[in-house]
Structure formats: structure tokens, C-alpha cells
């Protein structure tokens, strides 16, 4: 049994909206509804889904930036909710995050030296002076930046370079787990590949485990070993990358795959355009959450909610017909 770097169990997060009038009960957004995930050391798990499916909420919960409504997050076998504030801070050196927007995730008034060292200063205050400088420099060099970039400010860099700085900041404490929330979606396509290659190199050299969140199946295909497909706060299918692209089981996954534009002719694809928009997040309906848009939905789908079950070795899907 290999070690699990990340495990979530029944992870749930609901948000209460401000009440619209004094006499109404405030509405609740069901952002995340019972997500079970696990990632083995050195592997990378991709999370895909449309916007609003709970991907970013999942990232924030895993990073302990928010507390779950229900369920638990375990990093390296330790339940984050059971830690004291001090223990949680110490634990943070093991899991770090790369944010979506490299223009917003770096404080414009701090130098690169300060930004990259920020994690060290907060988590390892004993690392000071030359030792700190050395660690910062090593992290910068690992992402392909140079010593004379240390004194510069974020606005002096391009988007791709900024994202490298953000990765260096996450890398500096040598974390086991790195959560990347849409790390390349704000970048030019030509730069995307560079950043993804860098992430792969880092995984090879440092054995980092990734949880990579993306709406882009191409990105996930490029980097990840396993993929979880999310829909309305639930994981609807989870399997290896190969199986997901070759034998998708859930109708939603199939629709996502068919929506990916491809260069060249090849086999002709049957286009099953999804009907309607993403369902409501503010009430819990009976039955399958995808039933309203599903091309193969039948009466049972509207009455019974499907559970995530193993349909083949290391292939889970929650569909009555999978």
C-alpha cells in the first residue's frame, strides 16, 4: 500500500447566501456535496469540470483556507480539522498552492526575494540570512529564473515568469503536495506548455504530488495520471487518464470529451451537444443531478440518485447506465 498524500472523505461545503427579504429563509449554495478523493505520493490528480462545479472550493478546503461544512481533509494522514492553529501552520509546509492569476497572486509592493521567501519566513523563521537567501535562490533556479531577478518587482515580469515566481514560492518549503488551481488558464497558449513542462520536471526531480484543477482537458491530459470529473459539487467519474480518454463511462464526461476541439480529421465524432445550462446550485433535487441535461436520462434517473461505484478496476462512475 503506497502512502496517500491527500485523502478527502465526504467533503462538503455549503454557503449561506444573505437573505433577500426579512421573512425568507436565506438560500444555501451547495458548492461541494460529499467528495471522496485520494492521491498517492508522486502522482498527479486532475480535477476537471465546468465553472461553478466546486473545483475552486475544493482547492480552498484542501488548503485549509476554509473549513468544510462536513467531511474531512487528510494531508499525509493527518486530519486538518483536528490540528491546532500552530500545528496547522507547521503542517502547511507540506502543502502549498499555486493560484490561477499570476497578476493577482503576487503582492505588487514586494520584491521577488520577499515573495518567494514569504513561506519560509512564516513557516521556518529559524531559516534566516544566508541560508534563507540560498533556499530562495535554489527555488528560483528550479523554476528557471536567475539570481539578479531577486530584487525585481512582479510588474517587471511577463505572465509566464510571474507564474514561475508563484511556483517557486510554493516550492521553497519543499512540500509533498502542491495544489494548482487553473495554473495556466491566465497564460498565453505558447507559455502554457512551458509552465506545464516545468511542473512535470519538478515532479520528476522533487517527487511533488499535484492536485491540478482545470477546465481544460488538454492540460489534464498533458500532466495528470488520474482524473476526477466534477459536476455540481460531486465527483461523477474518476479513473486513470488513459481510461478516461479511451473509455469514458459517464455521459457528462463523454460530452466534455466531445467538446474538446481537435486538429485534423480522424474518425468522425458524434456530437452530443448538452441541453440547457448547469443545474441549480441552490436546491437539492432528488435523483441524478445531471438528469436534466443528460442525453440518456430515463425515469429512474430522476427518482434515484446514482452512487459513485467501481465499474471496472480503478474506474469509478456515478451513473445508472455506466
Amino acid at each position: 500500500m503506497t502512502e496517500m498524500v491527500l485523502r478527502t472523505e465526504g467533503l462538503t461545503r455549503h454557503y449561506q447566501l444573505p437573505r433577500e427579504s426579512l421573512f425568507q429563509t436565506p438560500e444555501v449554495v451547495y458548492a461541494l456535496n460529499g467528495v471522496d478523493l485520494q492521491i498517492q505520493r508522486g502522482r498527479s490528480l486532475g480535477i476537471v469540470g465546468e465553472s461553478g462545479c466546486g473545483k475552486s472550493t475544493l482547492a480552498r478546503l484542501v488548503m485549509a483556507l476554509e473549513t468544510p461544512t462536513d467531511g474531512r481533509v487528510e494531508v499525509l494522514g493527518r486530519d486538518l480539522a483536528s490540528l491546532t492553529a500552530g500545528q496547522l501552520r507547521d503542517a502547511r509546509r507540506h502543502f502549498q498552492m499555486v493560484f490561477q492569476d499570476p497578476y493577482g497572486s503576487l503582492d505588487p509592493r514586494h520584491t521577488v526575494r520577499r515573495i518567494v521567501g514569504e513561506t519560509l519566513d512564516a513557516l521556518e523563521p529559524e531559516t534566516k540570512g544566508a541560508a534563507r537567501e540560498e533556499r530562495v535562490l535554489r527555488a528560483l533556479e528550479a523554476v528557471g529564473l536567475r539570481r539578479n531577478d531577486l530584487g525585481k518587482y512582479p510588474h517587471e515580469f511577463s505572465g509566464g515568469q510571474r507564474q514561475r515566481i508563484a511556483i517557486a514560492r510554493a516550492l521553497v518549503t519543499q512540500p509533498e503536495l502542491m495544489v494548482a488551481d487553473e495554473p495556466v488558464s491566465a497564460l498565453d497558449v505558447s507559455v502554457q506548455a512551458q509552465v506545464l513542462n516545468l511542473m512535470q520536471d519538478l515532479q520528476r526531480e522533487h517527487g511533488v504530488t499535484y492536485m491540478l484543477i482545470s477546465h481544460d482537458l488538454g492540460v489534464v491530459d498533458y500532466v495528470c495520471d488520474e482524473v476526477a470529473v466534477m459536476y455540481l459539487g460531486r465527483v461523477v467519474e474518476q479513473t486513470t487518464r488513459e481510461r478516461l480518454f479511451e473509455a469514458p463511462a459517464h455521459p457528462y464526461t463523454k460530452a466534455l470529451l466531445e467538446a474538446v476541439p481537435r486538429v485534423g480529421g480522424g474518425r468522425r465524432r458524434r456530437r452530443s451537444v448538452l441541453q440547457g445550462g448547469v443545474g441549480s446550485q441552490t436546491h437539492e433535487a432528488a435523483g441524478c443531478p445531471f438528469a436534466d441535461r443528460c442525453p440518456v436520462a430515463e425515469l429512474t434517473c430522476r427518482e434515484q440518485s446514482p452512487v459513485l461505484r467501481e465499474i471496472a478496476p480503478s474506474h469509478m462512475a456515478s451513473c445508472h447506465f455506466a
Binding site: 485549509a64 502547511r92 493560484f99 518587482y153 510588474h155
Partner: protein
């Protein structure tokens, strides 16, 4: 965007001011505002050491003289030299403005940062108390406070300072909350920094420009309010020179010698205008998004 690295004038988001003075020189409103404010400060400083005549010496024989070579702006109903009184009055205005703004600024900043960092009921309490003071006009509160504590310049300053607290608190809370939502603050949180540390390392440095601009505007309002309070007789007391009291005393003689009401009025208008223009200028110069468009 691609030229941002090469042209210092296109400096990016919140960058340390590069070519700040050069940009400031090109900003006409800022230059005018700076000159007017500088003139006020200069005359106050000079009046500490020298005034053409004594601002308090009463020579009844000289009363209500029009401007002459000896008394450049003429004399008032007691024969005092108006230019000297205006210069010395600038001291009062500056002292009132500085203390009132620092008082309101420091406490307001602290409360606003606290509200933004804590949210929840702390924020509600601070903001509802602010709303309470906002419900009354500024001058009315100042009159109420000086009525309670007794008239005098110290109480006027305290009153104006107290009024500034919720103004700064609300401003700082609003911009602070927006700053807490930024991704670099999320990054700082996942780096394990606590709320206090984030407030001082990330929130405060990124909202200074807003606070500086508000300070210049509050300064102008404080000068105006001090003049109004002194005019009403609850501000500075004779014989301390004050622009507002010069105005109120001159109104009995306005038909005999209209100019003696014009001079203090002009002094108030120019200094308030100067501070406002300087505040507008600073807002433009410190806002990197606006700086880029220039």
C-alpha cells in the same frame, strides 16, 4: 503591457514610484494644489519668526484702513494689520488640520484595519457606530461636542478629530476588505501567515495611497470646519488669530470696509482649494492604473 518593463513611466501595479517627481510636475492640478498648500505652510512658518506688524497689537487710530504701503491688506476694526493676522491664522489652521487628521487617521485606520481583518460582529459593531456619527452633519457634531466640553481651540480640534475617525474607518475597512479578497492575500494565508501579520505586511502597504488622499481632503474639511466653528464662537478664542473669527468679526463692518471680509475668506478658499487639488493629484499619481494611461 510588453513595454512595461522598459518604460519607467508605464510602471505596473503599485510599483514603487519611479519618476514620481517627473510625473507630478506634469500633473497641472497637483502643481497648482502643491503651490497653494506650500504657500499656506510657508506663511505659517514665516509668521512664527516674523510678521509685518504684530497680529494682536490694537491701534484704534488706525482702524479700518484700506490697503496701503505700510498695511498691505489694510487694517481691521481694531487697527490690527490684516496681513499679519492672516499669516498667523495659517498656523491655527494647520495645527487644527494636522492634529484633527492625525487623530482621526490613526484611530480610524486602526479600527478600519481591525474591522476588515476580523469581519463578523466586530465589523458590525464598528460600522454601526460609524453610521451613528454619519447620521449627524459634521458641524452639528462639533457644536454639540464643544457645547458639552466648553468652547476653545483644543476642544474644537478634538471634536474634528473624533468626526474624522469614522470617515477613515469606513474607507479603510472598504478598501481593506477588497484587499483581503486578492489572491496574494490568499497566498499569504496558505503560506501560514496570521491575520495581524497579513494586515501589516500586505493590507496596510497596499491601501496607503487611499489613506494619503483622504488625509489631504480631510485636512481641507478640517480647516473649513475650524473656520466655521470659530465663526460661530465655539472655536479658537481671542486673541488667537483665526481666519474664521476674522470673518465673523468683520461682518459688522462689511458695509464700511468690505475688503476686511474678503481677505480671510480668500485665505480659506485658496488653502482648501489647494489641498483638494493636491489630493486629487495624489490620487492620480499614486494610482498605478491611472499612471499608466498618462
Amino acid at each position: 503591457m510588453s513595454t512595461a518593463a522598459t518604460d519607467p513611466d508605464l510602471a505596473g501595479d503599485g510599483a514603487p514610484p519611479q519618476g514620481f517627481i517627473r510625473r507630478a510636475m506634469r500633473h497641472r492640478a497637483f502643481v497648482i494644489g502643491f503651490a497653494l498648500t506650500g504657500g499656506m505652510v510657508l506663511s505659517a512658518l514665516v509668521s512664527l519668526l516674523w510678521t509685518p506688524h504684530s497680529p494682536t497689537e490694537i491701534i484704534i487710530a488706525n482702524r479700518l484702513k484700506p490697503p496701503t504701503a505700510v498695511h498691505w491688506l489694510g487694517t481691521d476694526q481694531f487697527g490690527r494689520d490684516i496681513l499679519s493676522m492672516i499669516m498667523a491664522g495659517a498656523q491655527t489652521s494647520i495645527v487644527v488640520g494636522l492634529i484633527a487628521v492625525s487623530l482621526g487617521g490613526i484611530f480610524g485606520l486602526a479600527l478600519g484595519l481591525w474591522a476588515a481583518a476580523r469581519r463578523g460582529w466586530t465589523e458590525d459593531l464598528i460600522m454601526r457606530l460609524s453610521d451613528l456619527t454619519f447620521a449627524f452633519p459634521v458641524i452639528l457634531i462639533a457644536i454639540l461636542l464643544t457645547a458639552g466640553w466648553g468652547p476653545g481651540i483644543t476642544n474644537a480640534i478634538l471634536a474634528l478629530g473624533v468626526i474624522n475617525i469614522p470617515i477613515f474607518a469606513r474607507l479603510v475597512r472598504g478598501t481593506g476588505i477588497a484587499m483581503w479578497e486578492r489572491e496574494f492575500v490568499q497566498a499569504a494565508r496558505s503560506a501560514g501567515k496570521g491575520r495581524v501579520r497579513i494586515t501589516f505586511e500586505h493590507i496596510l502597504p497596499n491601501i496607503t495611497s487611499v489613506v494619503v488622499v483622504q488625509a489631504t481632503i480631510s485636512f481641507a474639511i478640517a480647516i473649513l470646519a475650524e473656520a466655521a466653528l470659530s465663526y460661530l464662537g465655539v472655536g479658537s478664542q481671542p486673541p488667537d488669530p483665526s481666519w474664521g473669527r476674522m470673518l465673523s468679526e468683520s461682518q459688522n463692518f462689511i458695509f464700511l470696509s468690505p475688503l476686511i471680509a474678503v481677505w480671510p475668506g480668500l485665505a480659506i478658499v485658496l488653502s482648501v482649494l489647494g489641498l483638494n487639488l493636491m489630493g486629487d493629484g495624489l490620487r492620480d499619481l499614486l494610482d498605478p492604473r491611472l499612471a499608466r494611461q498618462r
